[in-house]
Subunit: 333 residues, 2 copies
């Protein structure tokens, strides 16, 4: 079982995979994983993944057989394990606990060679619907404090398998980055009596130059303090703290705004590696008035180097106003 | 001039290089910078860099001519500029200020093909001496709140030129990462009445399994909550808040511990890309009793992916106890 370890200075948790124990020869960043053409995520190979948790599939087709359009399974090599107890304890002067959590995989489409921007509109809608369903289900498990949905697209963004997939990890403590966002939004709310994300949406709609895509219920823009070239944030225009509260009637708008944003990225930068993450309020929180869920889309075009690691400052060589203009003009659809 | 922009949620500053304005075609991570064999950092090309700020050189040799062993120049393409006023101001609901600061380059050796582990002992001693000298000098400039010395080794760690060099950036505000460390060490001190880094040194010396190199005045170890495989921290064993206070009599011990640690990394992992950074107390602070300067050495073997960006949690596949054992056995010298 993996182990959470707490940095005694920063309070940051690290997950140490004690069992895998990668040795020097295991690190070969230049070499993609060899699969000899076999893909466990392709239709027909359903028995090569852990049993499916849920799926959207053709009427009459059986679980763990072809006929699915979006399929969710447990990660075969989970970072965190679902069974067991946290067992919080000291190790000398340090703090540790067992690597308990959930780690699921969304197989986004049966088509091995597809990408988010090439999926049918209906497929994207079903994927977003499935994201929400898993979030709703796992929020009921009292052991979890936070649930992250994310995608690593391309090897340089950390993807180890090429079949289109995204992931979910549920953690037993609220991550540092989320606590910081909660604290930041709370401070802003105390000062202004408004949600900082609502203020940003208002400002971006007024200023226009950083907006990439907008429809009735969703907006994506290049944030004012973008850390990375062509970074985008996607938000519901109506205040909402939790992604799990996304209404059925608004899923299509989110799917459209999302896919349109990725299409523009893929068109402007020729399918760059990227990550996206959904930030939502921690489970079981009642502070709904000051947090606002959103998706961050992070193209991986530059190397994070010593200065960034050392300071937490980021250096971005592309002003977001310029990035947004390029993305807006990338593919008028 | 570049611009600092503040993230309104996290308070994180980003440096936007508005003038460079990198467009999509400028990003080609696979292609190293072509130099046609020319190197501005090699002896004989001193007029191709900005004039030297200082150097260690043969007696009688003139500035900006060959004969130097370690040479410091301003960065030709500085992230921050030394002349001007911060001009803190609002842009809509956001906060911004001018990109004022210092950005210097340490050319570590005349030998284009050397590395930290191949330098002569005397050369490493002179490099550390020079780090301290520049730190002492810039701490006198009242505009700077923090000074970071760092190195990007290898293209995957962000190096754009291959001649051995490290860098210094002085910033007009205390970086978020440093504030967090200061807060963390302060909280620990309030609770324990001891420095957390001193406690870690004591614990590591007692436990032994994570120690990599130790001599009379310095120690390097794989931290308990290592974020990255083969990460190392290097610290003075005697409490000291500021790197600029490093005594002459201890520079050789630091140089030995430092070079020995890098030698082991290069030997175990065959010259991996890595970053190192020196974390020291902010300029003009009087909180010297609870901070402890140190160097963090970060090999770049794994991709930081969506989960890490989204949460601030790190996943490390190599337990630090195992990493330290491999490093200890890498090259007995």
């Amino acid at each position: 079982m993996s182990e959470f370890r707490r940095d005694p200075v920063l309070g940051r948790w690290v997950i140490i995979s004690s069992e895998r124990g990668k040795r020097p020869t295991d690190f070969n960043p230049a070499e993609p994983k060899k699969t000899n053409g076999f893909c466990a995520f392709c239709p027909g190979n359903e028995d090569k993944t852990p049993p499916e948790i849920t799926s959207i599939r053709e009427p009459g087709s059986a679980p763990n057989s072809p006929g699915w359009r979006v399929r969710v399974v447990s990660n075969k090599y989970p970072v965190l394990e679902i069974e067991g107890d946290l067992n919080k304890r000291a190790r000398g002067i340090y703090d540790t606990m067992n690597g308990i959590g959930a780690h699921e995989v969304f197989i986004e489409t049966p088509d091995h060679y597809s990408t988010i921007s090439k999926l049918s509109r209906q497929n994207v809608i079903e994927l977003i619907w499935m994201y929400r369903e898993r979030m709703v289900d796992l929020e009921r498990d009292g052991r979890f404090k936070f649930i992250l949905i994310f995608r690593n697209a391309g090897q340089d963004a950390g993807a180890s398998l090429s079949h289109p997939h995204s992931q979910l990890i549920a953690t037993p403590s609220v991550p540092k980055r989320i606590s910081e966002e909660i604290n930041g939004t709370h401070t802003y709310f105390e000062f202004k009596d408004r949600c900082v994300f609502c203020d940003m949406i208002d400002e971006e709609k007024y200023y226009k130059q950083r907006v990439v895509v907008e429809n009735e219920h969703f907006i994506s823009f290049a944030p004012f303090a973008s850390r990375f070239p062509f970074e985008m944030w996607l938000l519901p225009k109506k205040h909402s703290a939790k992604f799990s509260e996304l209404e059925n009637a608004r899923i299509a708008d989110m799917a459209d705004c999302f896919q349109e944003s990725i299409k523009r990225l893929d068109s402007a930068l020729e399918y760059p590696p990227y990550n996206y993450i959904i930030h939502t309020a921690p489970c079981n929180t009642d502070k709904d008035y000051f947090y606002h869920w959103h998706m961050e889309i992070i193209p991986r075009l530059t190397h994070v180097a010593g200065f960034e690691w050392g300071t937490g400052f980021y250096i971005n060589p592309t002003p977001p106003e310029q990035a947004a203009e390029i993305l807006r003009n990338a593919c008028k659809s």
